[in-house]
């Protein structure tokens, strides 16, 4: 029932996210697939099937899609359990006969489910268009892009979800999460650029999982995927610890 309630309350944001995602995928996939990367466009060389797929998946899903899924995660996370404190509905919720961890995890999984649907539709549409244009389908490339987007989105969503619980406010949680995410993307970029120190970066992770499509010979970065999945799961776990001890 709570899953339904979460869906009922966030469906507007979900549908908006989905529409934008679909629009972006539809708008950018065809030119990128036809003309390849900007470098290829400069040289006037038509891309091969594999190059068309790689360029489209990396640019459309890894670039635009990655940014969008992070934003969707931020928005959906701010509408999670933290908002219940903000709106003072938490007293009603916590007097329903369920353990508090139930509210944390059901609320969290509703958002992850929505993100996964957005990623699935986006990846499905992009790969469908690519298959239509090239006559080929690369199962692992599609799966990699889907996993990269879903886990990346889940990290930004979980962070916002947790911060909203910490601050007991959806809006404040969103603000803090945006700041943290910005720093988390900026700092590894700076350390890598200036000092050649490579820290785990969410942006790199999403880029890498999509980039994997370009480097067919390289192995899929499972360890990084697991690392970021653990990060995504750590936030609701921390939120549970807080909520179970919270005075309402």
């Amino acid at each position: 029932m709570y899953f339904w309630k979460c869906w009922r309350e966030t469906r507007a944001q979900f549908i908006a996210g989905l529409v934008v995602f679909v629009a972006v995928c539809s708008f950018f996939t065809i030119p990128v697939a036809k003309f390849g990367s900007p470098e290829m466009m400069k040289t006037g060389v038509s891309p091969s099937v594999a190059q068309a797929w790689s360029s489209a998946i990396r640019m459309v899903l890894g670039g635009w899609g990655g940014t969008l899924i992070l934003i969707c995660g931020l928005v959906l996370g701010s509408a999670g359990l933290g908002k219940e404190f903000d709106k003072q509905t938490v007293g009603f919720l916590f007097t329903r006969p369920r353990r508090r961890r139930y509210w944390v995890w059901v609320g969290w999984s509703a958002g992850v489910f929505e993100l996964a649907i957005i990623a699935l539709v986006g990846v499905g549409l992009t790969s469908g268009l690519l298959t239509f244009l090239t006559g080929h389908f690369y199962t692992w490339r599609v799966l990699a892009a889907f996993l990269g987007l879903t886990v990346g989105g889940a990290v930004s969503y979980s962070l916002t979800y947790f911060m909203a619980v910490v601050t007991r406010s959806g809006l404040q949680g969103l603000g803090y999460a945006m700041g943290i995410l910005f720093v988390a993307i900026l700092v590894p970029g700076m350390t890598a650029h200036f000092w050649r120190i490579y820290l785990p970066s969410l942006w790199d992770f999403m880029d890498t999982t999509c980039e994997w499509a370009a480097a067919v010979v390289s192995s899929f970065p499972f360890s990084v995927l697991i690392l970021w999945s653990i990060v995504a799961l750590a936030f609701p776990l921390a939120a549970q610890a807080l909520v179970e001890r919270a005075d309402v």
């Binding site: 029932m1 709570y2 339904w4 309630k5 009922r8 309350e9 709106k87 003072q88 509905t89 007293g91 009603f92 916590f94 007097t95 329903r96 006969p97 369920r98 353990r99 001890r245 005075d247 309402v248």
Partner: protein, 312 residues
Amino acid sequence: MKSLAIWTEGLVKFYSDVKAVDELSLSVPRGVAYGFLGRNGAGKTSTIRMLLGLTKLTAGNGAVLGYKVGREQVAILERTAFVGENKILYGNLTARELTRFTRGFYPSWSDDACAKYSRLFEIPMDRSFSKLSQGNRTKTCLLLALSQRADLVILDEPTVGLDPVAVDALLRILVEDVIGAGRTVFISSHNLSDVEQIADWIGVIDQGKLLLEAKLDDVKSTFRLVTASGNGLPQTRFADVLSVTSVGKFSRYLVKHDADIFVAKLSREGAIIAEVSPVGLREIFLELVQKEDTCTSGNAGGKPALNSLLGS
């Protein structure tokens, strides 16, 4: 303990350094209406929140329907319906959607009761909660609680925003459908006349301490308000005297029982007895929390204050 709907022993709640509840020991029998009374900030809501697991106990023990507070919270919540003082639900859900949401949590939920109460309260079931009036919001909260058919119904200020017709309907439901079915009502309200209409038991709390817990009928039949004048009259609470209020030579005593013996004692000490009167819930409440009954507008039926009695 199992025979009681609510039992607490030495319940304490601190918020930082503020003691909201102070060694509170309650015994609420099953199948009765229990009026839990107190002034603003007396500790009523804190007590309820502790019983429901919304806030943790600082010290003490408690049980609801035989289940330990803090340890068997889900079992307590399965059998307890609650309407809090803040009647806030999800603004974009309609009353119908709210019932659909709530129904799934309670095996004892009754769709028939829900339909009956929604008709009785005349709730616009397809309007968003945020667009409902204050009264209809309260009614929606009551609908969700009453349709659960819970063994214990805890109501914190349930009549706020309700018109007299709705109040009357609520009190009838509580008496006929809840107490009549052997279930328990624990009602916290400032509206003493509403509580007086249905309560079998009352508990009066002030500054976190329980001042009185008794059957309302016993209170009405044995408690007396004794007004006397004289020099050197006793000014402190003792034995059966629950409260003393004095102005000049006049003193007013709330006597628990055996008022005749107390009056005789005062007379022997040279006091002139001005009045010995039975008391209603309002007088008991005001005497216990040491507030003068000023007989203001809206205080119909209230006993005249001591000052009024003296003509000052």
